[in-house]
């Protein structure tokens, strides 16, 4: 009954969009422009799903007898986030912003009046459409009580490791499963110990490689050390000095022990050496990265199933003793409707049709990332995909990256400190003091935990 009512609401919305006057007119084609980022080539389905959505929306409009049709012009970009975001702001400044854009700076965009709130839209179509999106995804779409965009992708970060290296060290599959159970419940120290064994045995060139830049993987590692960077209740950034010190000191120790290199190699080396078996564990990837490894680095499905293992980030022993469990995070990119859109309601409907279970399954099948809505798991495209089915629960457990205007600049500073400590050019203590100095100067409302 609820869904029927929602359907009626949908039709009423369309009527209001079109206007009573338009009903008497000839069929008009409305162009909706969208700008979608990968980054890289793997996100292409986020763009093509909008084109697919236009087909469904037009069928719906036709069925309703509406005198309009939608034409979608999608610009897909493989750029990195920064230049893509800058391009959006420039287009907006020039009054040429697209109707739909995929970005992640929700707080900045909402505060600056660049995007429209979508709370009403989500509530209106909740029972018809949005009911089975994983609840944690909405946390990453909210800012100051409003939902600002629609989730359409999820990449839970975690720890990839090589089971074949462990077998070469003499561990049986049963022992590996016990040490590194798929559902987590181990510690960072266990992963590090195994990495060191692999390095010491000369089986790998690198024990552990983390990201060469700031990103969600860095934040997840910080959380594993109890270094929360955000207080959601107060809405402020947090600098936890003791936890940060532990985080930095641990990484320095790993460098000294030869587990982590003193300077993180570039992305191609990280991916390449891991796929080739020259790196025991990469902390620079997520659940869906195997799709990229297959596409670019020649990873076989057999090797993925037999030789590679994935875990969410594991807490340190100290944090585990305090009750912290496995951690995975994701910075949710969202479909936003811009305030320069002339047809915002149509744009919202288009987004709705671009996030159907089918669209979600198409994206998931292509990227090997878990679906962002539960019902997509039953879609024929992925219901028999063992990898997606096995890793799908990670989507429900993932935490959103904090939505705060200064969060990423804060993370960038922490990453600089990490690189300096790993390189041995600054002590962990000094790096923390430098971070505190920056934090006090740049984040005046932030909290420093001594």
């Amino acid at each position: 009954m609820k869904r029927l009512l929602t359907l009626v609401l949908l039709i009423l919305t369309l009527v209001s969009v079109i206007g009573a006057e338009a009903l008497a007119q000839e069929i008009e084609t409305i162009t909706i422009r969208a700008s979608v980022i990968g980054p890289g080539p793997m996100g292409i389905k986020k763009a093509t799903n909008l084109e697919l959505a236009a087909e469904y929306l037009n069928r719906f409009l036709e069925a309703c007898g509406a005198p309009i049709r939608v034409k979608v012009e999608v610009e897909f970009s493989e750029l990195k986030w920064e230049p893509f975001t800058e391009k959006f702001y420039l287009e907006f400044r020039a009054g040429k912003a697209p109707d739909i854009v995929t970005l992640r700076e929700t707080a900045d965009l909402a505060e600056g009046g660049y995007i429209l709130p979508m709370t009403d839209h989500v509530q209106a179509f909740w029972n018809l459409h949005y009911y089975d999106f994983y609840p944690n995804l909405w946390e990453g779409a909210k800012w100051k009580g409003e939902i600002w965009g629609i989730p359409h992708d999820i990449s839970p970060v975690g720890i990839w490791y090589r089971k074949d290296v462990l077998r070469a060290l003499g561990y049986t599959d049963a022992e590996i499963s016990k040490l590194l159970p798929e559902d987590g419940n181990t510690t960072l120290e266990v992963v590090a110990r195994l990495a060191k064994e692999a390095v010491d045995a000369g089986l790998v060139e690198y024990g552990i490689l983390h990201r060469p830049s700031s990103g969600p993987g860095l934040y997840a590692t910080l959380l594993a050390f109890g270094a929360e960077c955000y207080d959601p209740d107060k809405g402020v950034l947090v600098l936890n000095k003791p936890a940060l010190l532990r985080f930095l000191q641990w990484h320095r120790d790993m460098v000294v022990q030869g587990v982590i290199p003193p300077a993180p190699p570039p992305w191609a080396t990280i991916h390449g050496t891991f796929v080739e078996g020259k790196t025991f564990s990469t902390w620079a990837s997520h659940v869906g990265t195997p799709a990229e490894w297959m596409e670019k680095y020649g990873l076989s499905e057999k090797a993925l199933e037999e030789d590679l293992g994935f875990l969410p980030f594991q807490p340190t022993e100290q944090e585990k003793a305090k009750g912290l469990g496995p951690v995975s995070v994701h910075d949710f990119p969202l479909y936003f409707v811009t305030t320069q859109s002339k047809y915002p309601e149509l744009a919202k409907l288009l987004i709705m049709f671009a996030t159907t279970p089918e669209a979600c399954a198409i994206h998931s099948a292509f990227t090997l990332r878990p679906p962002y809505r539960a019902s997509a798991l039953a879609h024929p495209l992925i219901k028999d995909n063992a990898y997606i089915q096995r890793t799908a629960p990670s989507a429900a457990a993932v935490r959103p990256v904090p939505i705060h205007p200064q969060f990423w600049s804060y993370q960038a500073r922490i990453f600089e400190a990490l690189k300096g400590v790993e390189a041995g050019v600054v002590t962990p203590e000094r790096a923390v003091e430098d971070l505190v100095a920056w934090f006090l100067a740049e984040v005046p409302d932030g909290l420093v935990i001594e």
């Binding site: 800058e86 420039l90 600056g112 300077a263 600089e416 690189k419 300096g420 390189a423 050019v425 100067a441």
Partner: protein, 287 residues
């Protein structure tokens, strides 16, 4: 005159004026003109909420500039004098070799240095060490400032060498031959005949490269990115990072504006020290 002045005004003065205007704003990538008075300047000058990195950036900039400048001027002089005093074919070969950095694209040059000093066995120097059974050295971590000084210095050498060589070629042979007839050694010819006649080219190259090193950041960005841990973060690179990595255009502009002021003051100082008026009054090479 008219079109030239217009072009200079359009492409030099207007950007400078705009930079100064933006320096008084909190402009970020939303490109909003939100004026905050002297907020950016007070932050970088340490009044109120100070930028804790500024003292380090300042020291890096001085070390880098004062390090690269002598490499360029002395290196350029050495190569030009040596190459002009040997057989012309040999001299031409060496000048061509040292001109290569100027002839290749900056990105290629920067990455060649980065690759040469890469801290894995894939880097050029570490590959040589590995072949000799030596362990790899983290060059870019242990000697980052030396490497960026040399990279920029060698690039400067190519231009300085060209200018000095051209100036040496204009010295009448009568002067050097006369000195040789009087019994002057090769070193004395250089010391007492050639170098005094190169005063103005040396002045020009010193001023040019002083400004160049103060304002350059491209090769540092390509080789070390300003790291490790701000070890090679110089003023202009910091301005670039503030504006185009952190998207704090207002703050980046204030850093740049201050650099423009420093440039002008330094330029006037150097010109006065070398005697600008005399340079304009007489020929560049005293005969």
């Amino acid at each position: 005159m008219g079109p030239s002045v217009s072009l200079v005004f359009l492409f030099y003065f207007i950007p400078v004026i705009l930079t100064f205007l933006i320096a008084f704003t909190a402009m970020d990538r939303t490109l909003s003109w939100r004026f905050i008075g002297l907020g950016n300047f007070s932050r970088l000058l340490g009044i109120g909420a100070r930028d804790p990195l500024i003292p380090r950036i300042l020291v890096n900039t001085i070390v880098y500039t004062l390090g690269a400048l002598p490499v360029t001027i002395i290196g350029g002089l050495l190569i030009s004098v040596l190459s002009m005093r040997v057989r012309s074919g040999v001299g031409l070969f060496f000048r061509a070799v040292f001109f290569i950095p100027r002839a290749i694209p900056p990105v290629v040059y920067g990455f060649l240095w980065a690759w040469s000093f890469e801290g894995t066995r894939y880097g050029l120097f570490n590959a040589i060490r590995a072949a000799l059974g030596l362990p790899v050295v983290q060059w870019l971590i242990r000697y980052p400032m030396v490497i960026v000084i040399l990279a920029n210095g060698f690039l400067g050498i190519s231009l300085a060498m060209l200018v000095f060589s051209a100036a040496i070629a204009t010295i009448p042979q009568d002067l050097t031959r006369a000195a040789e007839v009087d019994g002057a050694s090769e070193g004395q010819v250089v010391r007492y005949v050639i170098l005094p006649l190169l005063k103005w080219p040396i002045l020009t190259m010193t001023v040019w490269h002083l400004m160049s090193f103060l304002n350059s950041y491209v090769y540092i960005m390509l080789i070390t990115g300003g790291g490790p841990y701000y070890a090679t973060e110089v003023w202009s690179l910091y301005a670039y990072h503030a504006a185009f990595t952190q998207y704090r255009y207002g703050y980046g502009a204030s850093l740049t504006a201050l650099l423009v002021v420093v440039n002008v003051v330094l330029l006037l100082f150097v010109l006065k020290a070398f005697g600008m008026r005399r340079m304009l009054a007489r020929g560049k090479i005293e005969v």
